[in-house]
Subunit: 187 residues, 2 copies
């Protein structure tokens, strides 16, 4: 549990990137958050691109673990699926932040190649999990589960984006509810 400086940098960088994007992440503010000087970050990371790629990698790795845990802890895949939107809700609860992947998808064309790669993997991890769980819960046939999984991932990301721009987490809940009513998510 003791967090070393490297971990502190990664945690702080993740939060900043979720709030301001890759472009809005700068070494001086980040260093101040951590309690060190900007130049010291280079002791741990050779460049901003490398730091951001590490942040994005850690992000999808954590997400993968969280999703598997959610599934393992649920008695029924349908329950895990129902709770899926909570993972995205959490960012909004914490200072109106966004999913890293959502934010960086917007900035995508300006991202270093190494960062793009990790951001794509985050989407892949989510879609793969959703696809698996949709099949297991028999919401759709295995043949159609991947298409549905992508649709859910995109829609949840859109809901987060819209709710954030209103700084209104109840809007996020309302949108998820509408997805259920409309049939995109199982009721």
């Amino acid at each position: 549990m003791t967090e070393n400086s490297r971990d502190k940098i990664l945690s702080a960088a993740t939060k900043i990137a979720q709030a301001h994007g890759y472009n809005g992440l700068n070494f001086r503010d980040l260093a101040e958050d951590v309690g060190i000087k900007a130049a010291s970050i280079y002791y741990y990371f050779p460049s901003k691109a490398d730091l951001a790629a590490t942040v994005a990698k850690r992000y999808w790795e954590n997400a993968a673990v969280a999703l598997e845990t959610l599934l393992a802890e649920s008695s029924d895949p349908a329950i895990a699926l129902r709770r899926y939107p909570e993972t995205f809700r959490w960012a909004l609860e914490n200072e109106n932040r966004m999913c890293l992947s959502g934010f960086m998808a917007a900035e995508y064309d300006d991202l270093p190649e190494a960062v793009k790669k990790e951001i794509q993997i985050f989407a892949d991890v989510n879609v793969a999990w959703l696809s698996k769980v949709l099949s297991a819960a028999k919401v759709v046939s295995p043949k159609k589960s991947e298409a549905r999984a992508r649709a859910i991932f995109a829609a949840v990301g859109g809901a987060q984006l819209m709710a954030r721009s209103r700084s209104d987490i109840t809007l996020y809940d309302a949108l998820i509810n509408s997805y259920r009513v409309a049939g995109l998510l199982p009721a």
Copy 2:
């Protein structure tokens, strides 16, 4: 049809903002696009915030006209509704750009107040139109049409975001199709 310098600035700024966001919009690159020098932009706009707010205002005004035209040209509101996703597809077709509103929703917390206002109106215009057309096409009851309208707007924005991060317009089409299959959009 003859575009004056002010209009040229606004058009070029819109394109840049759709591709790189408010943060990625800078006066030197913008001026070069237009064929003038950066300082000359201040002859037309007092600040970057003011320029961006004007861009965003023009953006939702054009969207409002386009949506009303779409509705007027459609023999049936259901047809107008079916073609709604085309308005968002267009940005992706043009150099993988995003809807301004989607991009700036991500950057929202760092936006000048005047820009935030116009970005919100864009969302309002879309939701109001969708709500009206959903009711007219009898897809949902008037009482539920606004909730559904918001859901569709968010989901279409999410689809655009995901397709952009893959630079794959066919993914956008596939996602819209999935929304129809799932029942979020009428088949």
